[in-house]
Structures are given as structure tokens and as C-alpha cells.
């Protein structure tokens, strides 16, 4: 086996020194790296994801905010769709969205739930006209003769208008034109690509920017043929980016890209953290569980509010995302940032009500010597931790995958991981425990790339609090990115983050991530020209996310589709 390992080591080192996606070296500072296609570029017919599905139904059927929330809650409770397969964290990759028995059943259950809200749709207008209008938005285009006839037949089949609306809503919500992004295109095929119709562009826009169906205005713009040039599309996209729905849409993009869901799975060791020692009896896990659930809820909220604030209420730049010291937190998060007292037993009453009562999130200014940007948030670091200690490899892999698009290859077979993570209790600090990675020449090929980034976050403990000591020894969070051919030295994650914020490789990667999400597939060779123009525009705009979105929607990859043979 040792012989085998030696053989693989050379291959592995090559894999890590020449990561996929970009070339090493990076050229002169400020220059975008050479862009490569992703390894797997199959596209496939895109289906509405679980999140898009329930958001769309809420937007289509709900008459006001309260009703929209009620519909989403009812769908989650009764008709929840199975969780989606993810690629790079994204849930909307058509190639992997295969329908299962559980999926079509959930569609049926959800449509039944939503149909109960259908009766008022008829209101004082004729039922057929009202439901035709709902169907057109749901289908992102006019009904054809056969659909119109089917709708009429359903309405006529019932003497009771309520029953008619009930059936029609169900029919709309299970229709393939609602559930799938059907794209035919129109005009001539040029270079293997065909232009999308205005309605098809409208659908791409609304699911990219809003995570939902178009509104009536977007439908009107499409109907008037005013999405036919990149400029027209950009102008409409600008309107959409400034609409309230974009807050939901961008939250969705970031939830997937930056893996907000991981915070739901934090599993801290209660005895290791004062925050969970709420009462004298250290074995009363139930009290600690209440606090944990409350913390998870606040942490998810912190991640969402941080991103939303940077995007819509702040500068809206990559630099702000990676350096801002403005966040939001409730009393538990304020404590983790050293901005509040240790919450005692009295605060448990408020925590116990869980979803029933609103979170009391307040705006916070973080100490710039300790925090700066998304990667340094307590919630993000808690989500990438083990019960007692930070998980430096996970924290680093997150940066490498999501911000540099350079994930190292998986460990080779036959690897002896027990020697790598160190024995329990031997090492003095968490960093020392992981140091075997880089002293063992076999592992060093990849871990000299992975480890320095991970160690930079060692100042954030397993629940995201700040620490200067680990196990009684000083924390060493310094390192450099020479193994990535980047001329960056840092003393901690704040400095690392600030450096990443200015890196053309990060700008190129962020452009790639947003394009993957906008298109619902990996970057193919035929998308490289679009990616190049998008990344250039993103860089030229000083990393503005709004400009990034506008560049994507004007790119040929977004406005046309490949014609399959």
C-alpha cells in the first residue's frame, strides 16, 4: 500500500499545483486569470427548484404579504418538495433534476394546498379571465389553444365557481409549462445557438433575479417585444434588481452559493461553551437544546441579513461582502461578538417561543481588528466547525471552492487519515493537530494549499466566538498564499479576506458562480466568451454585484441557448 501511495503522490501534487478553472501564476496583479471550462458541462431541462416552486406559488396566488407567507408555510408543512441535488451548492442544475415519485406527489399535495386559496382569484372578474391571467404568469407566456380549452373545460365542469377555481389552480401548478423552463428559441441558428424568445428571456430573468415567476410588468415588456436586445434586457433587469423581490432572489442565490443551510446542522458540545451552560445543572441538555435552536435561528438570520445589507443597503460590492464590519445579531450573537452580556436563564423564555415570536436582531458594528466580511462572521464559522473545535479544512475548502473555484482533488484511496488529523489529545492546539498534513510529504501536495487558509480562521472558535488562546496556548492564525501562486501574507482571516476582496482570481470565480446559478449548468467551452465579458465587467465596476447581474443577463450565454443535435 505504501508503494501505491508514493505513486499517487506525484499525480496528486500535480492536481493541486495546477487547479482546474484557472492557470497558476495569475499574471500581473489586476489581470484576470485565464478562464477554463468546467469539467462537466451537461445542461438539461431546468425544473423549478423546491424554493422557486413555493415562492412562485406564493407570488401567483397570494394577494398580500400575509397570504404569501401563509401559502409558503402551508406548502412547507404539507407539500414540501424533496431536497434537491446540489452541484457546487446550486440546486437548479437541470442536468441533475430528475423527477422522482416523491416529487410528483409533493407537487400534487402542494397544488391541493394552494388551490384552497384559489377561490378569491375569481373575485368580481370572470373566473376564466382571472385564471387565464394567473396561468400566463405561471407559464411565462400566453396560453395556446389547447391550454385555453383545457382551462375552460375545468371551469365548466363544475357548477360551483369555487370548485372550478380549485381545479384550475391545481391544473396550472402541475402543468409542465409552470414546472419546467421550456425554451424553444426563435430565428436562425448561429454557431450552434439560437436566440431565446422574449418570454423565455423574461423567465430566465425572473428566476435568476427573483427566484420566482415574472410580475405583470415583466410579462407586458415581453409581450411588447421589448426584451430583444441586450440593452433592453439590461434596462428591465435593472428595474428588477431594485424591486423588493430581488431581496428574496439574491438571498436564495447566496443561500446556495455560500451554504447558509449548513448552519442548521451545527452540533456544538454544550459543556465546552459557556453560552450553553445556562443553569447550574450541566447535564440538563434540554435547556441547552432550546438555546441551540434559538442560536441556529439567529445565525441563519445573521447570514441572510448580512448579505442583504451589503447588497441592497450598502455598497453592494465584493469588497463589502468580504470586508464589512456591519452585521445584525440578537442577544446570543451579540454575546459571541463580545457586544453583550452572557445571556442568562431569564432570556430563555424569549428563546423558547422559537418561531412564534420575532427575532430581536439589532444592527451591530464589529471590531475591525477581529472581524471583517462574510468569512469572519460568527455564524459562518460556527457552521464550519466540529463540536468542540473549528474545522480548518472545511473552512478552507469553502474558500477554495466557493471564492476561488479551485477545489483540490479528494484524498486518494488508501490514505491513512488517522495519521493526518493527529491523535486525540496529543497536540497542544487545533492547528498543531492538523499540522501533520504539511509535514507528511505525501499529504503536503494539497494541504500546503488548503491549510494556511483554514488556519487563518483559528481565532474563531467552534461556535464563532473570538479567541486568542486555544487549549491555553496562543492561537497562530498567520500564513500566506504562496502555494496558490498568490503574493499574499496575512496575520489572520481579516487580512486574508481583505486580500481576497481585491484578487482578480476571486472576481473571476464569483463571476463564474453567479453565471452557473443564472444558467443552471456548469460553464461550458461555449460559455467562456460570455464568462470573460462578465468577469471583465464585474472587475471594471469595482466588484459591483448589481453590475455583475446586469452583465450576465446581457451575455450571449444568457440570451441564447445551445441547440442540441
Amino acid at each position: 500500500m505504501r508503494f501505491y501511495i508514493a505513486l499517487l503522490a506525484s499525480a496528486l501534487a500535480a492536481g493541486c499545483s495546477e487547479p482546474p478553472g484557472t492557470t497558476p501564476g495569475g499574471g500581473t496583479p489586476g489581470e484576470l486569470p485565464e478562464l477554463r471550462a468546467d469539467e462537466s458541462g451537461e445542461a438539461g431541462l431546468r425544473r423549478l427548484t423546491a424554493a422557486q416552486f413555493s415562492q412562485s406559488i406564493a407570488e401567483l396566488i397570494g394577494r398580500d404579504r400575509g397570504e404569501r407567507e401563509e401559502i409558503r408555510a402551508r406548502i412547507f408543512e404539507t407539500g414540501r418538495l424533496p431536497s434537491e441535488r446540489t452541484v457546487h451548492g446550486f440546486e437548479n442544475y437541470g442536468a441533475v433534476q430528475r423527477p422522482s415519485a416523491a416529487l410528483v406527489e409533493a407537487h400534487l399535495r402542494s397544488s391541493l394546498v394552494a388551490a384552497e386559496f384559489g377561490e378569491p382569484l375569481c373575485g368580481d372578474r370572470s373566473c376564466e379571465r382571472a385564471l387565464t391571467s394567473v396561468a400566463e404568469r405561471a407559464f411565462r407566456g400566453p396560453l395556446d389553444a389547447s391550454d385555453q380549452e383545457a382551462l375552460r373545460a375545468l371551469l365548466d365542469s363544475s357548477v360551483d365557481p369555487f370548485n372550478g377555481a380549485f381545479l384550475a389552480v391545481q391544473w396550472i401548478l402541475q402543468h409542465p409549462r409552470f414546472l419546467y423552463l421550456i425554451e424553444r428559441g426563435e430565428g436562425e441558428v448561429t454557431g450552434g445557438r439560437i436566440a431565446l424568445t422574449d418570454y423565455e428571456v423574461a423567465a430566465r430573468l425572473s428566476f435568476f433575479l427573483w427566484g420566482s415567476v415574472p410580475d405583470e410588468r415583466l410579462m407586458n415588456v415581453a409581450s411588447a417585444g421589448r426584451l430583444s436586445t441586450p440593452e433592453e434586457v439590461a434596462s428591465e433587469a435593472a428595474r428588477m434588481f431594485d424591486d423588493r423581490r430581488a431581496r428574496h432572489g439574491m438571498r436564495e442565490l447566496h443561500r446556495q452559493w455560500l451554504d447558509f443551510d449548513r448552519v442548521e446542522r451545527i452540533n456544538p458540545d454544550f459543556l465546552s461553551f459557556e453560552l450553553f451552560r445556562v443553569i447550574d445543572d450541566p447535564n440538563d441538555a434540554e435547556i441547552s437544546q432550546i438555546r441551540l435552536r434559538s442560536l441556529v435561528r439567529a445565525m441563519r438570520s445573521e447570514l441572510e441579513m448580512f448579505v442583504e445589507a451589503q447588497l441592497f443597503d450598502g455598497p453592494g460590492t465584493l469588497r463589502a461582502l468580504l470586508t464589512s464590519t456591519k452585521t445584525h445579531g440578537d442577544h446570543l450573537i451579540r454575546y459571541l461578538y463580545g457586544l453583550g452580556e452572557l445571556p442568562d436563564e431569564d432570556s430563555l423564555d424569549a428563546e423558547e417561543c422559537e418561531d412564534e415570536c420575532p427575532l430581536r436582531m439589532r444592527s451591530l458594528d464589529l471590531d475591525p481588528s477581529r472581524r471583517g466580511g462574510f468569512l469572519t462572521l460568527a455564524s459562518h464559522n460556527a457552521a464550519h466547525s466540529y463540536p468542540r473545535q473549528p474545522a480548518p479544512i472545511r473552512r478552507s475548502m469553502f474558500v477554495l471552492e466557493r471564492f476561488l473555484c479551485e477545489p483540490p482533488p479528494p484524498p486518494p484511496p488508501g490514505i491513512d487519515p488517522s495519521g493526518v488529523t493527529g491523535r486525540m489529545g496529543d497536540a497542544r492546539t487545533n492547528r498543531e493537530r492538523h499540522s501533520e498534513h504539511t509535514t507528511n510529504s505525501f499529504c503536503a501536495g494539497c494541504h500546503r494549499v488548503i491549510d494556511p487558509i483554514g488556519f487563518s480562521f483559528e481565532r474563531y472558535d467552534a461556535i464563532g466566538g473570538y479567541r486568542t488562546e486555544d487549549n491555553g496556548f496562543p492561537v497562530d492564525s498567520s500564513g500566506d498564499l504562496r502555494a496558490l501562486n498568490m503574493d499574499v501574507e496575512f496575520s489572520d482571516a481579516v487580512q486574508l479576506s481583505a486580500a481576497l476582496a481585491e484578487s482578480p482570481r476571486v472576481q473571476a470565480c464569483v463571476s463564474r458562480q453567479w453565471m452557473r446559478y443564472a444558467l443552471g449548468h456548469d460553464i461550458r467551452a461555449s460559455d467562456l466568451e460570455s464568462l470573460r465579458s462578465v468577469a471583465t465587467a464585474f472587475q471594471a465596476s469595482d466588484g459591483s454585484f448589481r453590475e455583475l447581474a446586469l452583465a450576465i443577463v446581457q451575455s450571449p450565454s444568457f440570451l441564447t441557448r445551445e441547440v442540441s443535435q
Binding site: 500500500m1 501505491y4 462537466s40 451537461e42 438539461g44 431541462l45 425544473r47 404539507t78 407539500g79 424533496p82 457546487h88 442544475y93 442536468a95 441533475v96 430528475r98 423527477p99 422522482s100 415519485a101 416523491a102 416529487l103 410528483v104 400534487l108 399535495r109 384552497e116 391550454d147 383545457a150 363544475s158 370548485n163 381545479l167 391545481q170 391544473w171 402541475q174 402543468h175 409542465p176 409549462r177 419546467y180 421550456i182 424553444r184 442548521e264 446542522r265 452540533n267 458540545d269 454544550f270 459543556l271 466540529y386 463540536p387 468542540r388 479528494p410 484511496p413 488508501g414 490514505i415 491513512d416 487519515p417 488517522s418 488529523t421 491523535r423 486525540m424 449548468h521 456548469d522 442540441s564
Partner: protein
């Protein structure tokens, strides 16, 4: 937990519970099926085993250099290995395999070891990357069996996970992983109904017609689109067509709904999931279930806080503490298998119990938690007509390894999958890859079973 408490928690023991309802349904409701059909459960756990505490050698008969099988009947509890000790009670109802290897996974070059084992362990075939996703190139054993034994008017299979973060191990076909339900309440609602009702009789009557109308839209649209899009819509239409048949069938069945604990802990979730699976199998709502056992939190096993995967599993062969911890962990999983068997045994059926008509395959994605593919733990349990259990099997480790010239591994694990299918009455000769090439160029034959059936 003793048996009585467990059964009470399942809602299957004591007076006035759901069992009589289930039996009444069986005697009157089900037609067209054999009186006691064979059911199939895949019990899937992660991290392999701790081999020295798994194996049960009999020096001079079965050991390092002696292969073959022996009867478990006369073994005392102390003759059982630490990990398998809880199975002593069911020693006549299990076949324990020692010396199988995930040989084809060793020869695969895609994905990390967990992902590779996850695909190979139940499909017997290579990992494929489709659309950026690491996936399988063919059906997993549960789905292969379901194709033959499932009733079209019931659930083809149920995929239930205990604990969060469970990665799918069930593949209906190439690149078609099935979602696992992690929330017992959602699973209960899906399988036993409840929660959604059409408001009145007129609508109830219109329901099937509406779904059929929906299905027509898929067919019509598919005919107008490019082949890739069309095939996806046709696939969706197939799922709807199957659902119509299923919903009509389930409407005609009346099954008692098991009571759930309502608790959110790992143990509550396990009890509730087993409860749902048992009730669904007993009422013939499905014949195939995968119980995906997510990683147990350390505290559930009574271990000091830590992450089972990184703090314990990786140390299984390196430190005495890691080894002891993983033995505790794996023996707890054996107990969970015993709990599943007890639940099935508590349901009378025909001349015996549900356990007499259920084949359980216990499989994992690795041989051991040090990421190796050899010495793969595997057990076939339960019962079915013509299936001989109650034996310990040790296979020679003489298969040339696909990745390393000169190295050897155990017998290819496909044999256990083939045998499980045969025990369910599904006669196959191979699954996934029928043969692969070893590093030294010899051809490794991966066809054939083990011989529990009709031997």
C-alpha cells in the same frame, strides 16, 4: 432498551394499538397479491466496521487461513463478537459475511472513497459524473428488486433516513438518485395520507381526471421539444402515470396509521422511522424500504462529545480509544438492526410473522472507517421461503486488487447483492459490473451469488 418498551414506542405492542387494524386490512383488503409476499429492507450504515471486533473466527475451523462456513446455532452470547453480540438472539435468522471486498470501488477512479463506496456498495457499478454530480451508472439493489416485487398500485419503495445529512444511496437507474425523507412526520403523511383533503365529493371525483389531464400536457409538449427536454418531460409524465395508479390503489387500502413519538432526537427519529416502515410493509403499502441510518451523534452512543467521522472513525485502526469508540458505535448499529427485526417479528403474518417474509440486507459504504474497501461488513437477515440462514461465511481474500499489482482483496461484494436479490425471489446473476480487470491484467469475475437460496 428492552423489547417491550421498543414495541410500545412503535405503537405495535400492548393493547388497543394499531395492530388489529393492520391485520383486518390484510385479511380483507388486499387482493391479487400472494398471501405473504417477500419484502426487502436495505439497512444502510456508514463507516464500515471495526473488523477485529466484527469477525467471529473459530480457530482451526474458520480463521486467517481457513475458509468456509459454520452454523451459528450453538454459539453462546459470549461466542459472538463485540460488534455483533446483539444479534445472538437472532442467530438462526442471519447470514454473516466475512471477507467480502468492495473490489470494483477499489478499481474506480472517480470521487472520494465515501462517494465511491456509496455508489458501488449497492449498485455494483462505477461512479459517473453527470452534470457535475457524482452519481451511479445503474440501479441499486433495492430498486432492482423493487422492479420485480413491487406492486404497481402501491409505493414502489420508500427511502427513509434517520438523522440529517443522509446522502442518497438508492438509485432508480443511471443518474437517478432517489430523495430520502428525513422527517418522520412528512414520511407519515406521504405514506398514510392525512393533512390534505379535497374539500368535497365533487372535487374528489374530479381529481383523477385532473391528474390525467395534466399528464396529457406533458405528452403533448414533449412531442414539440428537442430530444433532451422531451425525454425529461416524458420521464415526468411516467411518474405522474404511476402516481395515478398508486393513488387509486392506496385509496382502496385502509391501513392503521402508526403513532409517532413527536420527539426530535436521533432515537425518536429512529423509532418513528422504523414504526412507519414496519406499518407500511405490514399493510403492503410498499414491499421495499431503505433505512438510511445517518451518522449517530456521539452522545447517543455514550461517547464524549466529538464528530464520529473525524474524531472517532478515522482513528479506528490507529488508537485504542478510537477503536473502542467505534466498536461501541457499530455494536449500537447492530442493536438497531435487532430493533428493526423485533418490530417485524411483532407483526403476525400467515403462519409466522412479518420477519419470516422480509429479507434485510445490511450494507455500508466502506470496509472500515480508515477509508479502505476490503473486509466489507455485510449481513443478510430475516427470512423468506427457501432461504437458509443461521451461518457464518468466511471468504478467501485472494482476489487480485484492481488498483495495486500484487495486492489481494476479499471476494467481490456483488455476490452479496446477487444473493439478496435471489433471496427475494429475483433471479439475477450479476449487478453493475459483471467483471473488471485487476492491476495485473487478470479478469475478475464478479458474477454469481453465495448460495443461501435453494442450497
Amino acid at each position: 432498551m428492552n423489547r417491550r418498551t421498543f414495541l410500545q414506542a412503535l405503537g405495535l405492542g400492548g393493547a388497543g394499538l394499531t395492530l388489529p387494524t393492520l391485520l383486518a386490512n390484510r385479511s380483507t383488503g388486499d387482493t391479487g397479491a400472494a398471501s405473504c409476499p417477500t419484502r426487502f429492507i436495505v439497512f444502510y450504515t456508514w463507516h464500515g466496521t471495526n473488523y477485529p471486533d466484527y469477525r467471529m473466527w473459530q480457530p482451526g475451523i474458520i480463521d486467517e487461513t481457513n475458509w468456509g462456513n459454520y452454523s451459528l446455532s450453538d454459539l453462546s452470547p459470549s461466542d459472538f463478537s463485540p460488534i455483533l453480540a446483539p444479534l445472538h438472539r437472532y442467530r438462526d435468522r442471519v447470514a454473516i459475511f466475512d471477507g467480502l471486498g468492495l473490489v470494483s470501488a477499489d478499481g474506480d477512479g472517480i470521487g472520494d472513497q465515501h462517494q465511491r463506496g456509496q455508489v458501488h456498495s449497492l449498485t455494483g457499478g462505477n461512479v459517473q459524473i453527470i452534470g457535475g454530480d457524482n452519481t451511479a451508472g445503474g440501479p441499486s439493489i433495492d430498486q432492482l428488486v423493487a422492479r420485480s416485487i413491487a406492486r404497481p398500485d402501491r409505493f414502489t419503495s420508500l427511502e427513509l433516513a434517520v438523522g440529517g445529512d443522509y446522502l442518497s444511496t438508492a438509485y432508480a437507474d443511471t443518474a437517478l438518485p432517489l430523495p430520502f425523507e428525513e422527517d418522520p412526520e412528512s414520511a407519515l403523511r406521504r405514506v398514510f395520507g392525512g393533512g390534505v383533503r379535497t374539500p368535497n365529493a365533487e372535487l374528489d371525483a374530479a381529481q383523477s381526471e385532473l391528474i390525467r389531464r395534466t399528464q396529457d400536457q406533458y405528452a403533448r409538449l414533449a412531442s414539440e421539444l428537442d430530444p433532451t427536454s422531451a425525454s425529461r418531460l416524458e420521464e415526468h409524465s411516467d411518474r405522474i402515470r404511476e402516481m395515478v395508479v398508486r393513488l387509486e390503489g392506496i385509496r382502496d387500502a385502509s391501513c392503521g396509521m402508526p403513532a409517532l413519538s413527536g420527539g426530535g432526537s436521533y432515537e425518536d427519529s429512529f423509532l418513528d422511522t422504523v414504526s412507519i416502515a414496519t406499518a407500511a410493509l405490514a399493510c403492503d403499502l410498499t414491499r421495499v424500504v431503505t433505512l438510511g441510518m445517518g451518522q449517530m451523534p456521539a452522545e447517543v452512543v455514550g461517547l464524549p462529545p466529538g464528530n464520529i467521522h473525524t474524531d472517532y472513525a478515522h482513528h479506528v485502526y490507529e488508537s485504542p480509544e478510537g477503536s473502542a469508540a467505534m466498536t461501541t458505535y457499530f455494536s449500537r448499529q447492530t442493536q438497531q438492526l435487532v430493533d428493526v427485526m423485533s418490530a417485524l417479528e411483532a407483526v403476525p403474518e400467515g403462519d409466522g410473522t412479518l420477519l419470516d417474509h422480509t429479507i434485510i440486507l445490511w450494507a455500508s459504504e466502506l470496509g472500515a472507517a480508515d477509508h479502505t474497501f476490503d473486509r466489507w461488513p455485510c449481513i443478510i437477515a430475516g427470512g423468506a421461503p427457501g432461504v437458509s440462514l443461521g451461518e457464518y461465511y468466511r471468504f478467501p481474500e485472494d482476489t487480485p486488487a484492481p488498483s495495486t499489482a500484487g495486492a489481494t482483496m476479499g471476494r467481490p461484494h456483488q455476490a452479496a447483492l446477487v444473493e439478496a436479490a435471489r433471496a427475494c425471489g429475483v433471479n439475477i446473476d450479476s449487478i453493475g459490473l459483471p467483471e473488471i480487470e485487476a492491476a495485473d491484467g487478470t479478469l475478475i469475475d464478479m458474477r454469481g451469488g453465495i448460495g443461501l437460496v435453494g442450497s
